[in-house]
Symmetry: C2
Subunit: 390 residues, 2 copies
Amino acid sequence: MCTVNPLLFMEHAVRKERMGLEFKIIHKDAGSAARVGLITTPRGEIATPAFMPVGTKATVKAVSPDEVWDLGYRMILANAYHLYLRPGHELVERHGGLHKFMNWPGGILTDSGGFQVFSLARLRKVTEEGVIFQSHIDGSSRLFTPELSVEVQESLGSDIIMCLDDVKGYPVEKEVAREAGERTTRWAERCLKSKKKVDPALFGIVQGSMFSDLRELSARSLTDLNLDGYAVGGLSVGEPREVMVEMIEVTLPLIPERSLRYLMGVGKPADILDGVLRGVDLFDCVLPTRNARNGMLFTSGGEKNIKNACYRDDPEPPDPACACPLCSNYSMAYLRHLFLEKEIYGLRLATIHNLSFYNHMMESVRQAMLQDRVHSFVAEFLAGMEENND
Amino acid sequence: MCTVNPLLFMEHAVRKERMGLEFKIIHKDAGSAARVGLITTPRGEIATPAFMPVGTKATVKAVSPDEVWDLGYRMILANAYHLYLRPGHELVERHGGLHKFMNWPGGILTDSGGFQVFSLARLRKVTEEGVIFQSHIDGSSRLFTPELSVEVQESLGSDIIMCLDDVKGYPVEKEVAREAGERTTRWAERCLKSKKKVDPALFGIVQGSMFSDLRELSARSLTDLNLDGYAVGGLSVGEPREVMVEMIEVTLPLIPERSLRYLMGVGKPADILDGVLRGVDLFDCVLPTRNARNGMLFTSGGEKNIKNACYRDDPEPPDPACACPLCSNYSMAYLRHLFLEKEIYGLRLATIHNLSFYNHMMESVRQAMLQDRVHSFVAEFLAGMEENND
């Protein structure tokens, strides 16, 4: 039963020629940089601004691909760093690529590993060649280069791949930040050069730490490379929130209007809506899924902690305004019972609900933009969410 | 957000009059005591012999009610003991009963708590009145009586409720076993007397430890009460397997043929098929669900441990003969990856698969009986399963 038939891999050996990613702006908001767009990939269309659920290790934690799809998501994020370490990108490629491996029919964006090496790996040493680090899993020594990052992401079969970036912590000396920003651009050039496949889109990641002029330098040098899209990276590394917001404000206008703009690792509903108004097209964050597993639910009436005693006997769904499978079929009392008993099904229901909330928010903000009422929508949405915070 | 509107409970206050459970034998096997039957309840029909997945705490671990239903199950088991302690049967009743609370449209059989008090609770003391024990959750002292067990199960709204039984360990002195058996019958009388609702069926549990004559006494005195069905209880308490089989052999023929026969806590596929040939109609066991969460898969080619290194690169599904969502969409390599990464989705897929295997086995053995080939079916089935055992 343990013998693997090599012929079974053959069907995946022939790769079909595909068209790459296209991005079209459908509607621009008159009073802000916000826009509604449409990404077209060989796997279908993705309306923007879009939030991408995080499926780090080839699964969006606690839910199935079907559930993610049925909630309306058409693109998820996975992590090159994690899948490179385990189960290995070659294995995933042998099994037909990440889409087939995890049975996800939509788009996949993979992060390059730059941020994960920065935040997870031990004994990092950045050289011009790449990053030498110890695996956070088995302590083995690894060298991650821009070329390897592209190779890993191409092996996975991602629809959008990210350039390896040199991420620094906060605070950092300006000279160190300048060097890291310049290196990030040189690495982006190497990524572009080493890219073998036509179909995946390659995005650059703007660095520059918390220095406006370095952000500008980074953005200008990256956009000169004429990449397929641009991300704002190197944020949420310990800086105050207002500094982060300032860096987003500085960076976004430097990304050409026709390009996809991706704000990495953001975030809370308010931060996402703020990003939308500044013209961001793509977001990703572990918040809806991770908070769900901790019992924190996003609702139209604010955040609710399912473990609070006040929900013990509550026959209402978490959010009466929500049509997700949790809110359609279950009470707060039942969900709280599942959480207190550490029942797996509770994690799933809470995750489905939070992902439903996020996608509904994105659908609503797109709709509001098309109807030229995005500013009043955002104000009302945020006011509603402040009603209750357990 | 924390205010509970008492009016929301009102819709459940009016209880409709319902017909109780009916059991009809459809086909008898010529060469054994095996039979195919049909249970009719107000919630639909259940073909027998049937296996009931265990949903101890108002959820079948790691899967949704939809998934259990879609796999073909029409009855599950829940535990009065656990739900009495948390969240409390009164709470479940206020929320419309267990079916509504957990969103399960099929039948529910609840165990009385006798076995759970025996196996989980601390400082047990059995008196004629009932069992005094310390809750395994918070150490509080509780008295569980036959009347309370029925009250709990009726509050939950179970379709089949079990009489509280006095379970002893192994080995036990004959006089102690005799006393426990006789008490179990006296408690069954009290259960019958205290039953308030018409619709749930009340089953007695045959005790008598590992003494054939005590089993006979227990069965005869219980069947004299003309209950709705009978279970073989007090097994799997530490006795050798052959002793358990002997007790099943002794007890089953003493249950009237027209009655439902339920073999509690059994078991492995071979034990279930053995029970079927001896005329058992109902089974329950944590094995398919618990083993799934430990990475053990039942397949038509034997048991497979997904964590074994030989599956690292295996592109085959766990069981090519299986049409479950796991086997239709995923490889052993992906499932193993999920297990190694402790991803929740792996527990769900493995559970779905094992429950699919069990229900398929039950469907197949019913079909084989109807075609008068149950003995050859059982022999072939067991031979297939012995091919591989990791």
